[in-house]
């Protein structure tokens, strides 16, 4: 890929517009810029759900393949109404969960829904596992989006397609749980 993506200062919205309306060469370059700008984020999200790096790379490719299909050869294409990462997160998450299912790490069930997550994530970095291991998946997810990805509460609600009140509730209960947990209590006391 050309190194010009690194210095490309166009906004994500502008790049999406070029992907929608530019010619083949311009659209390819714009897409490459979006990929380079956000590939690490997608990998981070993937690693919150999958157990190994190969699976995380599969998630990366699936996520951007999905995104590519949003830009048809002709037609309206994608409309960016929020942060680009808000668009990437659910795609990466769903792809990761699908990957987990395929890897047969979890029992098959016809009733298994996309939102069904294990009680503890399959693999987390040991530091995060130590810090967040006791939280439920839903609370951990909201905390990560809020404090690591720096999303606002409304952005979290939009990304996860849940009510704002639910976001606040999960966040509040998650923070309280960390405050009470022996592993993380020390941070609140200092």
């Amino acid at each position: 890929m050309a190194k010009t993506e690194i210095s490309d200062r166009r906004s994500d919205a502008d790049l999406v517009d070029v992907c929608n309306h530019g010619d083949a060469r311009e659209a390819t370059r714009a897409f490459e810029t979006l990929y380079n700008r956000h590939k690490n984020y997608v990998i981070r999200v993937a690693l919150r759900f999958v157990s190994d790096h190969d699976s995380a790379l599969d998630v990366l490719q699936e996520t951007f393949s999905y995104l590519l299909r949003k830009f048809p050869p002709s037609g309206k294409g994608l409309t960016l109404t929020a942060r680009f990462t808000s668009l990437l997160y659910p795609v990466a998450k769903n792809s990761a969960i699908t990957s987990m299912r395929k890897s047969r790490r979890f029992p098959r069930s016809d009733n298994l829904q996309v939102d069904d997550l294990p009680a503890k994530p399959p693999v987390l970095d040991s530091d995060i596992a130590a810090l967040l291991g006791e939280l439920s998946d839903e609370r951990r997810e909201v905390l990560m989006l809020r404090f690591v990805d720096d999303l606002s509460l409304q952005e979290i609600a939009d990304t996860l397609q849940i009510p704002l009140g639910t976001v606040k509730s999960r966040l509040h209960l998650g923070v309280r749980q960390l405050r009470d947990s022996p592993e993380t209590k020390i941070f609140f006391d200092s």
Partner: protein, 135 residues
């Protein structure tokens, strides 16, 4: 940050820093992976057949008009100057003869008024000596 968000946003900064630090992935995205994505994008967008003209429709219209005008001029063929007398060596053969009449007929078309002029020219040619000299 709104007051509402502040109320819930009470993780200690040290803990936030630890979470962010722990969330950073090791370098695993190789250039091979980058190339695969790039090839996917190139293949996908190659179906988009836009040319430079479709991006500049005004210039395309100007070019199309100019081309059309040029084609029309070519199709009309050489025009005979209507001020040339109807008794002249039109085909530059060195003499005025029936060939000049035929040349006039080809270039002037079949309109009735022009046909009359052609007929008059023909009469003059055949009424003169066999080799009409140009003036």
């Amino acid at each position: 940050m709104t007051r509402d968000e502040q109320e819930y946003d009470d993780l200690p900064q040290d803990l936030i820093d630890q979470l962010k630090s722990a969330d950073q992935p090791v370098s695993m995205i190789t250039s091979r992976v980058d190339r695969e994505i790039s090839q996917l994008a190139e293949a996908h967008f190659s179906r988009r057949r836009q040319t430079v003209w479709s991006r500049h429709p005004a210039w395309a219209a100007v070019a199309a008009t100019a081309l059309l005008a040029l084609l029309l001029v070519q199709l009309r063929g050489p025009q005979v100057d209507e001020h040339v007398p109807i008794y002249a060596d039109l085909d530059n053969s060195g003499r005025i003869d029936i060939a000049d009449v035929l040349y006039l007929a080809r270039t002037r078309g079949a309109e009735q008024q022009q046909r009359a002029e052609i007929d008059a020219f023909a009469m003059r040619v055949v009424s003169l000596a066999p080799t009409g000299e140009t003036s």
